[in-house]
């Protein structure tokens, strides 16, 4: 296990390095640059050159990458071109905001969707199952920006029950109750979308397991139906569900661009859009890096969970992961 973890971490470092290389190249290959906003048309070429030099943009791209990665290794993510703010000061609070929104909706979606999916698998095509089907179609079919705006229109502008946008009211920064108020609408949008996927996955996964021979063996043994479902079937059905959850894990930090934009949530999705527009290279690189780290981490956690759930899974052995 330890050996496996060490190897996985070393692999991850290589993956992260390659990702940073590619992202760096891509960001710099994009047309335009940060200086577009900082160099005024009236500026003399010499002054513009000085400006470029000060920002370090006159160096070649490999050189710039070298400087970036050298700083990264000392824990320095760089500073913004505009106002010279350290990237960490922008990134960490934003990430916290995103985490609040995403973990809240993620946990609620799981609490509703997984038991619902399991229940529906025991009564396929029943009323509850059909309802889940309908909700899934609606959830998949409605884009977040549209559904979000409808919710704002109805619950905020017409009924005036809930706040329109933002994380806190102006005069209630840091107030937990106020935060919950602000969470309701964006979470509803996110939950509806997740609900569809999670309940469908758990239903189909359970249905497949319930048809297996070992479930028949359990029933032939006289195991009560409740235990058949929760003891014998669920653990086997969890394996594909873990895969989905592992893939969703990164969104906890990366955020939901559309929902955050509609509800003006000060999170990562919105930050990324803003920073991409401003060509803030160091912030973009930091976001890309953080994203890559959580994706790698999500996969690692999923693999370890497989091992806990399914004894057939041999971590780290060649071709060891059997279905």
């Amino acid at each position: 296990m330890t050996e496996y973890l060490i190897r996985r971490i070393l692999q991850s470092i290589l993956v992260l390095f390659l990702i940073s290389l590619v992202t760096f190249g891509l960001i710099h290959a994009a047309p335009g640059g940060p200086t577009q906003m900082m160099i005024s048309p009236g500026m003399s070429p010499a002054a513009a050159k000085v400006q470029m030099h000060n920002l370090g943009l006159d160096k070649s791209i490999p050189e710039q990458y070298w400087i970036w990665i050298k700083n990264l290794l000392t824990g320095d993510l760089g500073k913004t071109f505009k106002n010279n703010i350290p990237v960490g000061d922008i990134l960490w609070p934003t990430m916290k905001n995103t985490f609040v929104l995403m973990s809240f909706s993620w946990v609620i979606s799981m609490i509703i969707a997984i038991p619902w999916g399991i229940y529906n698998s025991t009564k396929p095509y029943g009323i509850s199952d059909q309802t889940a089907n309908f909700v899934s179609y609606v959830g998949f079919a409605m884009p977040a920006f549209w559904f979000g705006i409808i919710l704002q229109q109805v619950f905020s502008l017409e009924l005036n029950w809930l706040p329109l946008s933002d994380m806190y009211a102006m005069d209630k920064q840091g107030n937990f109750i106020d935060l919950l108020y602000h969470l309701i609408l964006p979470c509803t949008v996110l939950i509806l979308a997740n609900l569809a996927a999670y309940s469908k996955y758990s239903r189909s996964s359970m249905l497949e397991v319930l048809e297996q021979d070992y479930i028949r063996t359990a029933r032939a043994k006289g195991v009560p139906e409740r235990k058949v479902i929760f003891r014998h079937a669920l653990r086997n059905a969890l394996i594909p569900i873990i895969t989905v959850l592992g893939m969703e894990l990164p969104t906890l930090v990366v955020g939901a661009t559309l929902t955050e934009s509609v509800f003006n949530w000060p999170g990562m999705g919105r930050l990324f859009v803003d920073m991409a527009r401003a060509r803030e290279y160091s912030v973009l690189m930091a976001i890309a890096l953080v994203t890559a780290v959580v994706v790698v981490l999500g996969n690692l956690i999923a693999d370890i969970l497989y091992k806990l759930v399914d004894p057939r899974v041999q971590l780290g052995r060649k071709g060891g992961k059997s279905a």
Binding site: Q212, D213, R216, A218, A220, K221, G222, P224
Partner: protein, 340 residues
């Protein structure tokens, strides 16, 4: 006559399809005496497994419905019971072992756990006692170093060992009836013999009755006290093992026996096959269900379905040939029939 442990009367099981109920078994009547073995023989799709799953009432979970008949087990009609009431019977009084042992065990629990579960369900044993007895059961079914094996998962065991584990689970609560649905079909030939021997041993040791389902007449010859031959959902012939083998009567049974390689006919000769295929259940022919494939088919066979005709003390056949014995003897070329 010995005491009847299980008596199935007119069992008809159907599956709901677009065209209404399709009958997978049609008025099956069999009985098993205490300590005896009944073999249900027939080719794939003849309804053997549906019959066994119906007796266990596991057919409910496979989408089947018992349309008619009763299943009398020690004075209780299993066909009329609710699912919740059956957990006292299943795995306790009647156990079942299955065709594919590799998939019949839950991959995420150790084999010891899976045996112990049966013990704690039916014998109120606590965890330690159940585990100890699970190890003993593994020893009884012939698994070497059972203490170690008990802690292993099914994927670490061979097919033959898995089947021994399945048998151990089935025998955990000392059932009175063991239903074995093609228990050796998925195993290597050498392992098949070992498993059959094990079942025979356990039957003698524990006095368990066995309902053995097989498509292999050779297995039936070795194991059975009584044989019931199934074809397209119905029992076409039944009797004691001696009656069936010395005096096979229904043309289908005769065909089955001739199909055993090396049973009749010489080496290198062509293997015998019964022409045609088993009819689809929703699409049975009029009259006798075997008539399209029968070498002795008569006009009557195409119009009216034969009922049970008694031709021996416990020997019944569903064939119009036996309405008139001399005609039968001539047709089958067996000379004078000495039963009756």
């Amino acid at each position: 006559m010995a005491e009847k442990l299980l008596e199935v009367r007119n069992l008809t099981t159907g599956f709901l399809t677009d065209k209404g109920f399709v009958k997978a078994t049609d008025r099956i009547s069999v009985s098993i005496e205490k300590g005896k073995t009944l073999c249900l023989v027939g080719e794939s799709g003849s309804g053997k497994s549906v019959t066994s799953l119906s007796i266990m009432r596991l057919i409910d979970y496979a989408g089947g419905v018992i349309l008619e008949g009763n299943i009398n087990f020690k004075g209780q009609d299993l066909a009329a019971k609710k699912q919740e009431e059956l957990k006292e019977i299943r795995g306790n009084k009647i156990s079942m072992i299955f065709q594919d042992p590799m998939s019949a065990l839950n991959p995420v629990f150790t084999v010891g756990d899976q045996i112990a579960e049966s013990l704690s369900l039916h014998q109120n044993k606590n965890k330690d006692e159940a585990w100890k007895e699970a190890v003993e059961l593994l020893r009884m079914v012939g698994i070497p170093s059972p203490e170690i094996r008990a802690k292993q998962y099914p994927n670490q065991l061979s097919g033959g060992m898995c089947q021994r584990v399945v048998i151990a689970i089935a025998l955990a609560a000392k059932p009175e009836l063991l239903i074995a649905d093609e228990p050796t079909t998925a195993l290597d030939v050498t392992v098949q013999a070992q498993i059959l021997e094990l079942l025979q041993d356990l039957k003698e040791k524990l006095g368990t009755s066995i309902l053995l389902i097989t498509h292999d007449m050779g297995v039936a010859a070795e194991m059975a006290d009584h044989i019931a031959v199934m074809y397209a959902g119905a029992i076409v012939e039944q009797g004691t093992v001696e009656e069936i083998f010395s005096n096979p009567s229904h043309p289908y049974t005769v065909g089955l026996l001739q199909s055993i390689p090396g049973f009749e006919g010489e080496r290198g000769g062509e293997l015998y096959t019964i022409k045609g295929t088993i009819p689809a259940l929703g699409n049975l022919p009029q009259g006798c269900r075997f008539n399209p494939r029968c070498p002795h088919v008569m006009d009557k066979c195409r119009q009216v379905e034969p009922g049970d005709i008694k031709i021996g003390s416990e020997h019944f056949t569903k064939c119009w040939l036996y309405e008139d014995k001399e005609k039968a003897a001539a047709a089958l070329g067996k000379g004078e029939s000495n039963h009756g």
